[in-house]
Symmetry: C2
Subunit: 336 residues, 2 copies
């Protein structure tokens, strides 16, 4: 199993990316990683740790300031595009991971790999932490700002496949992100999507509100990319803000608070682990012809490692073929 | 200043409503409260505490299970409708507070009080806690699931007026809830709304992401009611989940954790105060011809008191007239 990793994407590149790749090959037997980026710098960082790791030279870098489409077209020697080209042209490469510009990765992934037949809109889906389950897949979390009802049906099919590939659970519970739980609730989009989902044959359990994203009320939560993005960033932002409030309170609370914090350290550590949005790997770009994972822009070595292992797991599970099969039954009725 | 309070709306009615009303009249000189609901029950609860409080008999109750429009039309003797009728017909009544069904209150408020000329869509706006400012107004948080760009402009005007009335700060910073901070980001709705807001003459500072709802990056955040609802419930849900994780961790952490929790009690209490979505009163239904406040369904006596005092403050500030003036400049160009 060979996986390409964009070694120059993200805030902590290349150090965290290299460390994450080294950890991933150590953790999984038979895994090979191809790092893309400046070969001199990468070889220096790999010094003595290059077992099962090769380097593909790419002198250029796409940044978040680059306009996605023109960057993918013009920066052909960037670590991201060299990686995408390898993924698209080399049959021995099963998947790719990048912590770089989301827009460029979406554009590039779509352009270079093409979409699965029947899926009108590929989507971004992270596996999010939840309180009471193995995690929640949110699909779409930001690839499609404007959606039609049929897109949400496809997101449900892809999210279901993704969830099963990650957790082994067949027929996961799918819910629609809405502004109320009752069937008649919603905007024009969700009202129509509700009807499609009800008739889909998926394990559709109805509407959930945004507060259920974290409680684990459903395994797969379907949303248009705008609302999904709002939900994701609200949860993440609130969790981070609460951690910083606790930290501030402890710092300003004198000796008593500091001793209290010390005694509660195991509790805080556990909560941080539950609420860690990097712990479960990255967001999968579902609906294109190979496995492509977007790691968090501020991914640490640990989350890069998780994302690489996740990519391997998804490739091994044959998620692309499974989405192709899953959508095939719907194509004739619903494709645009 | 006379304020009507629906004494039979919300999970903790009538006890918490009566206690909140009693606390409010004690806290503000010259405030009178009219409680609507079963007079026998209310008089029993008020026993000896009825200074500046009168009761308006209403034997019926609208519940969350009632369909909003038909409930408002048919349950004419319900505590909510009797209150709305008093607000609409009695010039001496300045405002109303209810913790009852949001849908019924929106429908009833709109039907009985009418909308301000030039405002096509009234909106719900809570004052949310934030880390670095006096709070954030989110407008709309759920009244309008589908919006046009001009609605968002009106939300910005109303939100600005609301913020100033609540905090005294003139010209508060207005931002648009979006899926990225760059100007070109967004869905069709936010891209067009951005242009209107840029030319509005308001203190428009651009896009914010959902994670900034809590950081206080803007004073007023404008959103369609669907996304606003998603953002609000995500933040609230995450905060509640984290509190329950902390509680669970302490309960399961043995003596050490319990001592730690005791030492950190002042820190936790402070955080709970910052993150308390009831602390700042209720959500204001902006754009109708009188002040109408929706308190949280699970409002405690403390939040009912806060909502009543907020209603008094908004009525005293003449918010309805100010919104009328604020929108007047835009009416000819932008009204539907």
């Amino acid at each position: 199993m060979k996986i390409v990793v964009d070694a120059f994407g993200g805030d902590n590149a290349p150090q965290a990316i290299v460390d994450g790749a080294v950890a991933a090959v150590a953790a999984r037997e038979g895994l090979e990683v191809v790092l893309t980026g400046d070969s001199e710098k990468l070889n220096a960082l790999l010094e003595g740790r290059s077992r099962n790791i090769t380097v593909l030279h790419a002198p250029d870098v796409i940044t978040n300031d680059d306009a996605p489409t023109s960057a993918v077209k013009k920066k052909t020697r960037s670590s991201m595009v060299v990686g995408l080209d390898a993924l698209a042209s080399d049959d021995s490469v099963s998947a790719m991971v990048s912590a770089g510009s989301t827009g460029a990765l979406l554009t590039g992934g779509f352009m270079k790999l093409g979409r699965i037949k029947g899926i009108s809109r590929p989507a971004m889906a992270p596996m999010l932490p939840s309180l009471s389950s193995q995690g929640v897949v949110l699909c779409d979390c930001g690839a499609n700002a404007d959606c039609k009802p049929v897109n949400l049906l496809h997101f449900a099919i892809m999210g279901t496949t993704f969830y099963t590939a990650m957790t082994g659970k067949e027929n996961p519970a799918v819910a629609l992100l809405n502004n109320g739980t009752e069937e008649h609730k919603g905007n024009e989009l969700t009202k129509q999507a509700y009807e499609l989902l009800k008739q889909s044959g998926l394990n559709f359990i109805g509407n959930v509100e945004a507060r259920d994203l974290i409680t684990g009320a459903a395994d797969v939560i379907v949303a248009d990319g705008f609302s999904g993005n709002v939900a994701l960033k609200s949860c993440e932002g609130t969790a981070l803000s609460m951690f910083s409030l606790i930290k501030k309170g402890i710092n300003e609370g004198g000796l008593k608070a500091k001793i209290g914090a010390l005694l509660l350290k195991p509790v805080f550590r556990k909560i941080k682990k539950v609420m860690d949005y990097g712990e479960n790997g990255g967001a999968c770009f579902l609906g294109i012809n190979k496995v492509l994972i977007k790691a968090h822009g501020s991914a640490s070595a640990k989350s890069v490692c998780a994302a690489v292992l996740q990519a391997a797991q998804l490739a091994e599970a044959g998620i692309t073929d499974k989405i192709r099969e899953g959508v095939a039954g719907f194509v004739s009725e619903t494709a645009e």
